[in-house]
């Protein structure tokens, strides 16, 4: 049946989305921890610089250089996260352009209908719970990242001598706001995609039930 390959396709697509969701989750949490580590490292550099000043040492590692270096891993992971979301969005629009899928890949064995539907339902449940946990670290990490960057910029400009620290850190909020469109856009897209896939999966289950009810006289296969 032609639709048989389509169910295989749907299952493959769900598996692919599941792998993507897991990668986004790893990158997002990695981003949060890298941002925390980067901020901590920059604070250590600052303290070390202060200590050297008190000791009269002339050699010091400039903070304006230490902070960007410390935040490179976080920025890289954020870039990976954005890339995954962008690739997923592109595929959802009909361009199977993921570098992780080989175009000539042979199709897997034909799944048993009920097994395929069951696996699809499990994947959908997992995807829905993973989604929320992936976006929280993005926002928190983004706050830390932008607070640190704003702090460095303020120090470089000399504002920190004129304004209290809490005011300087408040300046990080606009930086975080840059992540809000990314968050909202990605979340909306992710949920729309999940709703559509979920509807297909539940309709497949319903079709199976209706078929057996109508032609076999049973409510659902045992």
């Amino acid at each position: 049946m032609e639709s048989e390959s389509r169910l295989s396709g749907l299952l493959e697509r769900l598996r692919s989305e599941s792998r993507r969701s897991r990668r986004i989750s790893w990158y997002a949490w990695g981003f949060l921890f890298a941002a925390i580590a980067g901020v901590t490292a920059s604070e250590i550099v600052e303290v070390a610089a202060l200590a050297r000043c008190f000791c009269g040492s002339s050699t010091s590692f400039p903070e304006w250089l230490a902070v960007p270096i410390g935040l490179i891993p976080a920025a890289g992971l954020l870039a990976f996260t954005v890339r995954e979301i962008w690739l997923g969005r592109r595929e959802a629009r009909g361009t199977p352009a993921s570098t992780r899928t080989t175009p000539g890949e042979p199709p897997g064995p034909t799944p048993h209908w009920a097994e395929a539907v069951r696996e699809s339902q499990e994947i959908m449940t997992r995807l829905q719970s993973e989604t929320e946990f992936s976006f929280v670290p993005l926002i928190l990490g983004g706050l830390g990242l932008s607070a640190t960057l704003v702090g460095v910029l303020v120090q470089l400009s000399g504002w920190d001598t004129r304004y209290p620290v809490y005011f300087v850190e408040l300046l990080a909020l606009p930086g975080m706001l840059l992540l809000v469109p990314l968050y909202l856009g990605a979340r909306t897209w992710w949920r729309t995609l999940q709703t559509q896939l979920s509807r297909q999966v539940s309709e497949l289950g319903r079709l199976e039930g209706e078929f057996f009810a109508r032609f076999a006289g049973i409510d659902a296969p045992a």
Binding site: L10, T110, T192, Q200
Partner: protein
């Protein structure tokens, strides 16, 4: 009776008979099943009166009107579900 019939296998068998009566081996090859599984499903479809055996025609198998209806039901349902071609569009 079968534990949990695979709707795809049922669909393949019904589709195979859609173009006319076939011998058992022809239908088995068309459905791509091993003979044991094929016989199990064939018995099931005959039991459900979706497929009939023609004793006057070397035991060829044919779809009953109910079988044709079942195939239409299945293919229409799948076509409706997969109208997005597996790639649902974002708004």
């Amino acid at each position: 009776m079968m534990d949990r019939p695979d709707l795809f296998v049922i669909g393949r068998l019904l589709e195979g008979l859609g173009s006319g009566p076939l011998r058992r081996t022809q239908l088995q090859q068309r459905a791509g099943l091993n003979y044991t599984v094929f016989l199990r499903y064939l018995d099931y479809l005959v039991y459900l009166k979706l497929v009939a055996v023609r004793p006057d025609d070397e035991g060829r198998l044919e779809l009953t009107p109910r079988g044709a209806e079942a195939y239409r039901f299945l293919s229409d349902g799948l076509a409706r579900i997969f109208q997005f071609d597996g790639y649902p569009r974002t708004p």
